[in-house]
């Protein structure tokens, strides 16, 4: 693996019975990139992501994440990444401070590290006076911003974001993307899925999965040019309409 590749997949495949959920995908992600991982429902995105996160063994092919092999070193991968999904992010019945402490503790961070960084984070999110309130009481937008901060609290090399902005109001959605940019600027590689096509424009590069395969991979500008499309929405429709299989 060359030093400027942080995720590398080569012919990565996952078969359930006779169903090829992920059908030989190959791609590389570079450090500090914001990599958009797009596809229709059922295209195989979640299965591919689970393999890259060390949660699911591939059927064939190879992949390394943060320099670790997905077959041999899934535990090391888990320690090197952060993960955030729309559905499950934080414990609603723990306070903001407790959630931070819990996740940081899981990743084995020292008390001193947690204490210092918690103070900085609460300051940055303007949540200092709310720190001892239950997460349940926070508006959704705040929960998502906090969940993202918690996912990168242990300073992972890569963060996987699975539809992080679904259902969030337009102002918070943009604040969230500014946080993603800041994380990428600090050297964290961002691997993100979304159904909002304007967000595809914010990515350094975008891949589009159709029926288990990566059908296209380029910068947003490159994709629009090669598919002769005015917007990413049009790019997506042109590619995803070809899908034979449907749904998740």
């Amino acid at each position: 693996m060359s030093s400027d590749v942080i995720i590398s997949a080569n012919n990565l495949t996952k078969i359930f019975g006779d169903f090829r959920a992920v059908d030989g995908i190959s791609f590389e992600v570079h450090p500090g990139e914001i990599f958009g991982f797009l596809g229709a429902n059922g295209a195989g995105k979640t299965t591919a992501m689970r393999m890259l996160c060390g949660l699911s063994m591939p059927s064939s092919g190879s992949a390394t994440v943060a320099g670790f092999d997905v077959y041999k070193e899934p535990e090391k991968i888990k320690r090197s990444i952060g993960y955030m999904s729309q559905k499950f992010s934080l414990y609603e019945d723990l306070t903001i401070r407790e959630n931070i402490r819990f996740y940081a503790g899981i990743y084995g961070k020292s008390d001193a590290f947690i204490k210092e960084k918690t103070a900085a984070l609460l300051e940055q999110l303007h949540l200092r006076s709310e720190a001892n309130k239950l997460v349940r009481s926070l508006p959704l937008g705040w929960k998502q911003k906090l969940a993202f901060s918690v996912a990168i609290f242990h300073e992972p090399r890569i963060v996987f974001l699975d539809e992080p902005t679904g259902g969030v109001d337009p102002v918070t959605r943009r604040e969230f993307w500014n946080m993603i940019y800041a994380a990428a600027g600090a050297g964290i590689t961002v691997f993100v899925t979304t159904h909002y096509m304007d967000e595809a424009e914010y990515c350094s590069r975008v891949s589009i999965m159709v029926d288990g395969k990566i059908e296209a991979l380029d910068t947003p500008a490159g994709l629009k040019q090669s598919l002769n499309a005015a917007s990413m929405d049009e790019v997506f429709l042109k590619l995803a309409r070809k899908a034979v299989r449907s749904g998740d």
């Binding site: 059922g42 959704l140 679904g166 993307w177």
Partner: protein, 305 residues
């Protein structure tokens, strides 16, 4: 008489002291045959409103009618006349496609055949899977089956709570095409969505945030009420451009919007001034042009009030 009429509805949850107000006295009217969208993020109060109108929840204050029937007093009659597709998939996962449809038809004292014409275009797409259990269907198929079940008794008013949430762009387009088809058959449709771009597919929309309706109008009307100049701007360094523009006198807002950033300014600011300012700050590949606002621009503008 309007198909749906809502007046000053207030909905609170929880005990007095810690009560959360989900709806702060909202009012709206939906005309017969209209495709009306409730547009807003999670937590805005969309589902509370839907559950009140489908007689599943009683409001603390205010009144509402569906087909001129009161949502509290006449709940039984309303249930016969409306179709409801909740946001969460609520069919029987362990019954097959055909069994689910049969079940809902029976409950409403009708048969699949009686109103088959209405669901035909949608049902033919899932018919090949008629013997598959609903729990084993893909997301898109579940959605189509749920819509069929909500239509099986030929309701005059259809309530669809976030039918496209979490659904990819292709399936969302297909779903809206189905809705246009139903609208052509003069069924009144109230549909909610967090996707602002779907507003343009409705006859009229209500923009809702924090339990309050910020605006009700046609999509064109909402866009027309955006009074400030709006520009799309792009340079080779987008983040820095945003930081710079936010400090420029006369610029009120600058935020991401696809490959460009949108810049809201005071009336006096013109394209050339923005370009000149960006040049002064060392930007290259500068592209600035006036643009029409979209529903998100309007929504964010209304959120500030």
């Amino acid at each position: 008489m309007p198909a749906i009429h809502v007046e000053n509805i207030v909905k609170r949850y929880g005990k007095k002291k810690e009560a959360v107000t989900a709806l702060h006295g909202i009012s709206l009217s939906v005309e017969r045959g209209e495709l009306f969208g409730i547009i807003g993020p999670d937590g805005a109060g969309k589902t509370s409103l839907f559950r009140i109108l489908t007689t599943l929840l009683i409001p603390e204050e205010g009144s509402a009618t569906v087909n001129d029937l009161d949502v509290v007093k006449d709940y039984k009659a309303i249930r016969q006349q409306v179709g409801y597709m909740p946001g969460k998939f609520s069919l029987y996962q362990d019954l097959t496609v055909a069994e689910n449809l049969e079940f809902f038809a029976t409950i409403f004292n009708t048969s699949i055949e009686e109103h088959y014409d209405l669901i035909k275009d949608i049902y033919v797409q899932i018919e090949p899977f008629r013997d598959r259990r609903a729990g084993k269907l893909s997301g898109g198929m579940k959605q189509k089956l749920a819509l069929c079940c909500a239509l099986i008794h030929e309701p005059s008013v259809l309530f669809l709570d976030e039918p496209t949430t979490g659904v990819d762009a292709v399936s969302r387009k297909e779903f809206w095409e189905m809705l246009r088809g139903l609208r052509a058959r003069s069924i009144t449709i109230l549909v909610s969505t967090p996707y602002m771009d779907e507003a343009s597919l409705c006859d009229r929309v209500a923009l809702i945030q924090n339990g309050k309706i910020m605006s009700i109008d046609t999509p064109q009307g909402i866009i027309g009420s955006f009074q400030k100049p709006l520009y799309a701007a792009r340079t080779s360094r987008m983040l820095e451009m945003q930081r710079n523009l936010l400090q420029m006198p006369g610029v009120e807002e600058c935020y991401l919007c696809g490959e460009y950033s949108h810049v809201v300014t005071q009336p006096a600011i013109r394209t050339e001034q923005l370009i000149h300012y960006l040049q002064q700050h060392g930007h290259d590949q500068i592209d600035v042009k006036p643009v029409e606002p979209n529903i998100e621009d309007c929504f964010m503008d209304l959120m500030k009030n």
